[in-house]
């Protein structure tokens, strides 16, 4: 459905996306990466909202920027907050249906709003809606014409936990119906819940791709640096160095050491018994590079 062939996008001197290629078929695909990684730019290029500076994109066999027919088969949940705020939700979604050439626009709008659990008869304007409700209105307008490709830029942002679960279920359901759903997110747990295939984008590059478990494994197996505060750093350092998964230990001072390991699970299992063995007390065991940014940096640098 979507063929992305070596696309790059730069704005003046800033490279937003660099030499990215992938293909997408029916089902849910998550675009995972930190903020500013190039996810939104990639989605915008797939939607045809902006052209790649280099490379080509085909959606349903055609250029999305030039083909009106292709545009009519794309649904976009964009990241920006603004909607036509002085309209009622049903009017806004009905406008989307009309412009997409849906026969009975009003019925389609009511159905789309019910899908996202909003009341089509709500007399309030969108300006009075909460962030989560606006988010659902955006999803409704993207679904109203039953698109073949649904692009969702951070669709779970602003939703409460219950709505997140519902939205996740809806995304899975749409994917199961054969719609190509692309969901961008910077939250690993969100992507995990989607249970989808994953494209990891970091620093504008495609850092990894595969199903979520393969990506997770890749992330787990990367080198970790862990800081330990203890009563006897030297004794603990000597004992830890005997394990094969630990490939470096740096003693900072008498009470602090840094451990480098690429088998964090093994380390977790062994650190406490080892400390007991050398008669050292543990005050703190803290991973120093467990944030998502570090994970993405590692994936890009592989």
């Amino acid at each position: 459905m979507v063929v992305v062939d070596r696309i790059s996008k730069w704005f003046d001197d800033v490279v937003a996306v660099s030499d990215v290629s992938f293909t997408l078929g029916p089902g849910v695909t998550a675009l995972l990466g930190p903020n500013g990684a190039g996810k939104s730019t990639t989605l915008r290029m797939i939607a045809g909202l902006t052209s790649p500076s280099q490379g080509a994109i085909q959606v349903l066999g055609d250029n999305p920027r030039q083909s009106a027919e292709v545009r009519g088969r794309i649904g976009l949940v964009s990241q920006q907050e603004q909607l036509f705020s002085e309209q009622r939700a049903v009017e806004f979604v009905q406008l989307a249906a009309t412009l997409n050439g849906v026969g009975d626009a009003e019925a389609a709008a009511r159905s789309a709003l019910q899908t996202v659990e909003l009341d089509p008869d709500d007399l309030r304007t969108i300006s009075t809606y909460s962030k989560g409700m606006r988010q659902r209105v955006k999803v409704a307008q993207a679904l109203v014409h039953k698109p073949a490709l649904l692009l969702m830029d951070e669709p779970l942002t602003g939703l409460d936990p219950r709505q997140r679960l519902k939205m996740t279920a809806l995304i899975q359901q749409l994917g199961a119906q054969g719609i190509c759903v692309v969901v961008s997110s910077h939250v690993l747990e969100e992507v995990e819940r989607l249970g989808s295939s994953v494209l990891v984008i970091a620093q504008g590059r495609l850092a990894a791709q595969g199903d979520f478990h393969a990506i997770r494994q890749l992330m787990e197996n990367r080198p970790h640096r862990i800081r330990i505060r203890t009563t006897d750093a030297r004794a603990l350092a000597s004992a830890l160095l005997t394990y094969s998964g630990i490939h470096g230990v740096e003693v900072v001072d008498e009470s602090e050491l840094l451990v480098d390991t690429n088998d964090v699970a093994l380390f977790r299992k062994r650190v406490a018994p080892t400390a007991r063995y050398v008669d050292a007390q543990l005050y703190e065991v803290q991973p120093l590079d467990d944030d998502l940014e570090s994970v993405f940096k590692y994936l890009v640098g592989r």
Binding site: R44, L49, S51, A68, L76, Q80, L83, L95, T98, H145
Partner: protein, 242 residues
């Protein structure tokens, strides 16, 4: 699935008009439009029995040169300008419709708002002058100004976020100053045609020397509107949408 262009254009117009015709904007512009009316009233009283064209000349100098272009600039540049600024243009742009439909909807929206907003003070002004020929001439000149400036400023609103600044510079520098320097330069300014229309219909030769014929006025106005729409469509096609 397809909807006729007329239906999609009307649907967009229904959305654009409430966005540009905000209460504050309409009231301010109507109040501003009453200024030449009040001036014409007092000048006409002071000039009782004198030259019939004093009020028409006032309209020419104030309304056609400042008031109407300014009001058209404010409303027409807001049609697509507001959508771009609020980043809601995507809700029109990413639909299976021709970009020309967006251009036409924006242009027609600005006409539908501008015609009543400008007509009310204009009709009052014509009523003060008290001549049917003047009233028709004034309304015709206003309509020509609305169409020509409307197409131009709709495009300007799409192209730049500083449409008001550039539009004002255009109105003051080109229309107000450079266009008056020579006949050749005057032919490239819209006010030449609005004043020609006023001069011809109101039979007021003092308004402009060597006015264009009405046929030329109408042809130039239609060409300007068409050029504005073509440019807007072209720009929409080339645009990066947020």
């Amino acid at each position: 699935m397809s909807t006729s262009p007329a239906v999609t254009v009307v649907a967009m117009i229904k959305r654009i008009i409430p966005a540009i015709a905000t209460r504050g904007r309409v009231i301010t512009m109507l109040a501003f439009g009453l200024l030449p009316v009040v001036l014409a009233f007092f000048i006409n009283r002071a000039d009782d029995g004198g030259d019939d064209f004093v009020a028409a000349d006032l309209l020419s100098r104030f309304s056609l040169l400042i008031y109407i272009p300014l009001v058209v600039l404010i409303f027409a540049s807001a049609t697509l300008g507001t959508l771009r600024e609020e980043r809601t243009l995507v809700y029109f742009w990413l639909r299976p419709i021709g970009r020309w439909q967006i251009a036409v909807a924006s242009f027609v929206s600005s006409l539908l708002v501008l015609i009543p907003v400008i007509s009310v003070p204009t009709i009052l002004l014509a009523a003060i002058i008290g001549d049917a020929g003047d009233m028709i001439g004034i309304l015709m000149a206003a309509l020509i100004a609305i169409v020509a400036y409307g197409a131009l400023f709709t495009f300007l609103g799409l192209v730049t976020q500083r449409a008001l600044v550039w539009g004002l510079i255009y109105i003051i520098v080109w229309e107000g100053f450079l266009g008056g320097l020579s006949r050749a330069a005057g032919r490239l300014s819209i006010r030449n045609y609005t004043r020609s229309a006023l001069s011809r219909i109101a039979d007021a030769p003092s308004i402009i020397d060597n006015p264009e014929s009405m046929a030329v006025v109408i042809i130039v106005t239609v060409c300007l509107a068409a050029a504005g729409l073509v440019l807007t469509t072209w720009w929409l096609n080339a645009l990066d949408v947020d």
